[in-house]
Symmetry: D2
Subunit: 386 residues, 4 copies
């Protein structure tokens, strides 16, 4: 007999997952849940139990398409299920606190999309719930996926190894252009009550977290300036006021003395997803642009001037973070793989009992920075401690 | 009741797939088979029935990991199964002909890795089998996956639309560096009897096919030069002679008058997967490098000189080939997605009865070029009709 | 007879030039004075009459080397000479006002290095003198040479033509690294009394002027943050305190609504002269980096998304600003040519009676911005009208 | 007394120069003659005695503009002048041999534009004359100016130091586009009798010389393919046949085993002066593109894979070749400075009695390669020893 059935052999237990929300984030999370155990030696095989969504028919179609066994219109039902071990929250920010806290209290691990919440107050309650849950062995994580870009993990590694020396400059921008057209219609992302803020919370949150992650320092104070270029946009009920920022520029100081320059905008025509980070230290420098996510630029200041220069590291070597799981050098990864890495790390943490980051506390830290930027911007850019 | 089970509803029939080989190509094909119906409206839902491999234990482990229902050590068994509709061949080139012809004769669709075969003779027999099968509605495709890089499909579109005008130059290189270390051990890829040729067939085949695909022209003649830099390498049984080329450089003429320059090597230190293509026409030019696979560089010669220049198109817009299925602009794709696209196109062709390329005849065309390069190289680089 | 003597034939009158200062700026100005009439049809042939410097021997050697007919240790003597029509001031900022005002009052045209002065008060007196002189046909110009980079003149042209639409973002950095080494010795550039300020006035002044020049808008308010990373440096008399900023980060608003982000530093390890400017408007975007000074990146938002992208314009076409005077396309220019262009424009203005910019008033405008940044930085980054 | 006259003080003797030809090359050579002693400590101060040109009036105007004391329509007169020590030949290739040999026999040093001659026979006579003259202390040099690009001199230095290890690949292209328009009129450069060959001799000569220079190896054999895309072009007398190649592609072997790929074309739309060179060795790689002439890309294969990558060296450090004479780091050089360097080296050689390259023998070596490419192209690309 030459054939044999495949089986899990009981070697890896299953971990039941329920996800709430099935738009862009839901689609990419689903792909990661489906793929993670194919490439990483995670301690659990995820079982995609049920998908939550507000509209029954759309949720059902999404569940089928994305590979979930069932769908539901009631997220509370998901939280209560015995066969669900983890809740993955992919909804807009205004529902994060309620769902996450309920899930944690029900003993479910939580993976929550960023920004953690729309306000500091909500975020604080979430952190408290996460800490209580943690004592019972329940995990939580906020989905700042850029922490799982191999090039940025490599960047952090080089910083940690001291290759940059004492850090002087952090330069971070997140540039998109999907709102550059003043005639583009209103969306929930432009309403303060749903989105919390505009470019600041949507994409500014990413560069705040990434900067703190890579540098290993916290932002201690900021001075902010925000602007809304297009004050109203067409909606089904006629022109509607835009109630969030269109862009946020801010300056920052870091806990160990570096000076930061940040900018988040969705009006940078021609820049599609230019999440950029540049660090300058006393011994070296780093530069990254997500549009070329497989590359990290490193300048080693210890190199003689004659042969010194920013080198383009193609971050696809087996020695690079996460890469051993994938393809040979030069066979590049894409956006979705940052989520696969994120979930692999979360599953590993749950299985091994080790810590995993970014925690809800990390999410709260970002929230504090966001709030300080907003307050500074309202107060004539006056510098504000975080 | 808020919950409902997911089901395929019988709307999309299943298509049983068996795959032979589970190394690098097997892993990436598996991911594509798992993912394709999640993102593309393909007419079939692939069912990953069985995986073939020579070693029972390794095949079983691979099947489990990659998501195949069963494994087998006998590819003939796969070909005979009733629940298998398609054979996906991911083995080295010396077994392609036998497996593919058997599968086609058994009425199975075939997806076959490149190069199509190790010799023109084998390739010709495969084409004959494919054509006979085609009359019975059985499909075959050779897996030149670079045809499914969105940037290269866009390149072809621009050529087809006449944006380049009359084509003068084709400049193609495929540069890797994994053999640059002269101490790296012997592998089957360096033995002529298994691999057919060295860099020429392994990666040169890709740029030949890609150049013919994008230009819409065939290569009509070549002049070649090959070299083996490291003549023997360590193996378990002591030093073993390398019997294939380490690099191949060749010049070509195209059917509509363009002149081509080609180079394939695995000794270009620092180049990881630099599959590059540049075209110059009377009206425009294009440039591509797989290491930055989400970018296509286009120079529009109709633009006034004052503002003319190569523009970096980030090929992630909804209007770009395949992109509507994926993420918002700037959220880049990776290597694996070229295979997802390939399989989506194959399933669509099978379901709709339309043609799909690259056919085995396309694979044979590449084989003819490879052979002509080899013959020319043996004959003092004398120009040789293809 | 086949030979004839060359002669100016009286067609172009001479214009006597005296220069004060012969360090870096003096060397590059000298090259421009020597070269300008060789490439541009300027209305005067400059005669390099006399070079001023504090040390007689060094000034004499410099004069010989740089091509000046004589040297002098007394700038007042230069100003009084009948055969001198123009005074070129290449000294540190603390002497600009005195020399420039004396020269203008003596009826000499003045070209003055940037920043115009070390304080707003000095700059205002210079502007007043320049305006009085202008009524008598005497010209003055501040040497913001980056206004004569062909790529930036092209940028301005595209902005003026409306190719960017309504401007939203200005992103400007000037990054150098020559102070990154904390052990590098003290220099006059780090003493407030001589240099006025640090990175802010030295290189920040350039990006302020360039941003206002290219956008055609003025900066109306700023919020600034400065830092001194290395508080003291070795000097001949032991450690000496650094009394200027090492870096300045600031945010700005422009007169027509754009938001600006600026950064000037000499601690950006690996960045040699990264004077960068990026503009995003409602219809297009531009990006420039002086390290690649022959390139301008333009994104035309009117282009269909399918083929849109930042294009690299190699600014060496005959249609490009100043380029007709030079070499065929692709035969690139260097730093020194920005000075040749500057002097060509100044001579042309003098000869034709037309206006020339940047005027001393432009220099004062920059001074106002510099002062506002400093004041804001001292006052907790509070936003400050310029 | 504060003023003193500048004088040469007799410290540096003058060297009388006569130049023949005043088109593009004449203009750039003139600028170099005017500038060289301003920046380099050369043993002579060049005196620009006389300019030769066929048309008296045009030559006189050029002399005045370019700074020559006199003009002449008879090059023989120049060669005979007592106050002329060096003849600089900037005419088309068909007159090089006659002028150069006459000059050398008259005891004048010679700087001759490339290609050295239009035929091997002429080049051989020139070499013989140069060698005879050399015995009498008379110098000759062929003006392959790309040998004086600082980045390429640095490249050679790195090769010589063994940083690349054993060389495997040479990849050289020279891409321009000024003939891409099929309606562009006839010029002497497209007539075989005047130009010798087309893209091959015009720009192919540069990459042949540069490749041999940087690698320190000679080309031992070639296989060539040439094409003429536009067979006739408009001239004043109606359509005229193009009698030279429009492009030349060729493969080469180097004396120490490297394999080369070359291409020269003036039809690469969008490429303005892309003189590119890439080298791959067993220990490192280098890449260069003249359009970014201040940059050299170096991959150090000894670097751990984790941080390895092509680094962009901005070749403007004081330690870089020729740079100490110029500006601070990042203040880039341009095309013309390659000629200043060339002349500085020639003057230094004359003054010190040391050798200088490229010699006429180097020029002849290039000529042999050009001829071998042409012969191979005529003979079905058959490989041909050089």
């Amino acid at each position: 007999m030459t054939e044999q059935k495949s089986s899990n052999d009981g070697r890896r237990p299953e971990l039941g997952v329920a996800m709430v929300g099935h738009a862009f984030m839901g689609a990419v999370h689903s792909q990661a849940w489906r793929s993670v155990a194919r490439f990483f030696d995670v301690p659990y095989t995820p079982r995609m139990v049920v998908l939550g969504g507000r509209d029954a028919e759309r949720a059902a179609r999404a569940a089928e398409r994305m590979g979930w066994e069932a769908s539901s219109t009631d997220w509370r039902e998901l939280v209560e299920r015995k066969d669900v071990d983890l809740i993955d929250i992919c909804t807009p920010g205004d529902s994060h606190a309620e769902i996450a806290i309920a899930a944690l209290e029900a003993g479910k691990h939580v993976l929550c999309e960023k920004p953690l919440a729309n306000t500091v107050e909500e975020a604080e309650r979430m952190v408290a719930a996460a800490e209580r849950a943690r004592e019972r062995g329940v995990y939580s994580m906020v989905a700042f996926n850029y922490r799982r870009v191999p090039a940025l993990v490599l960047a952090k590694r080089l910083v940690d190894e001291g290759r940059l020396g004492e850090l002087r400059h952090v330069r971070a921008t997140y540039l998109q252009d999907w709102l550059a057209d003043a005639e583009a219609p209103m969306t929930w992302r432009l309403r303060k009550e749903q989105a919390g803020s505009g470019a600041l919370g949507d994409i500014g949150a990413h560069i705040i977290d990434a900067a703190q992650f890579v540098t290993g320092q916290t932002i201690t104070g900021v001075s902010g300036l925000t602007e809304t270029f297009v004050r109203q946009r067409p909606s089904d009920d006629g022109p509607e006021a835009v109630t969030v920022d269109d862009c946020a520029v801010f300056m920052a100081r870091f806990s160990a003395g570096a000076v930061g320059s940040f900018e988040a905008t969705r009006y940078a025509l021609g820049r599609k997803n230019a999440m950029r980070l540049e660090l300058n230290g006393s011994k070296g420098s780093l530069a990254f642009d997500f549009e070329s996510m497989n590359e990290l630029w490193f300048h080693d200041g210890e190199e003689p001037a004659e042969t010194g220069g920013f080198r383009r590291i193609v971050v696809t070597e087996p020695d690079h973070p996460y890469l051993e799981a994938w393809w040979p050098p030069g066979h590049v990864l894409g956006y979705e793989h940052t989520f696969t890495h994120e979930i692999a790390d979360l599953l590993t943490a749950i299985g091994t009992g080790k810590r995993v980051e970014p925690s809800f506390a990390d999410g709260l830290r970002v929230q504090h920075v966001l709030e300080a930027v907003e307050q500074s911007a309202k107060n004539g850019s006056m510098y504000r401690q975080v």
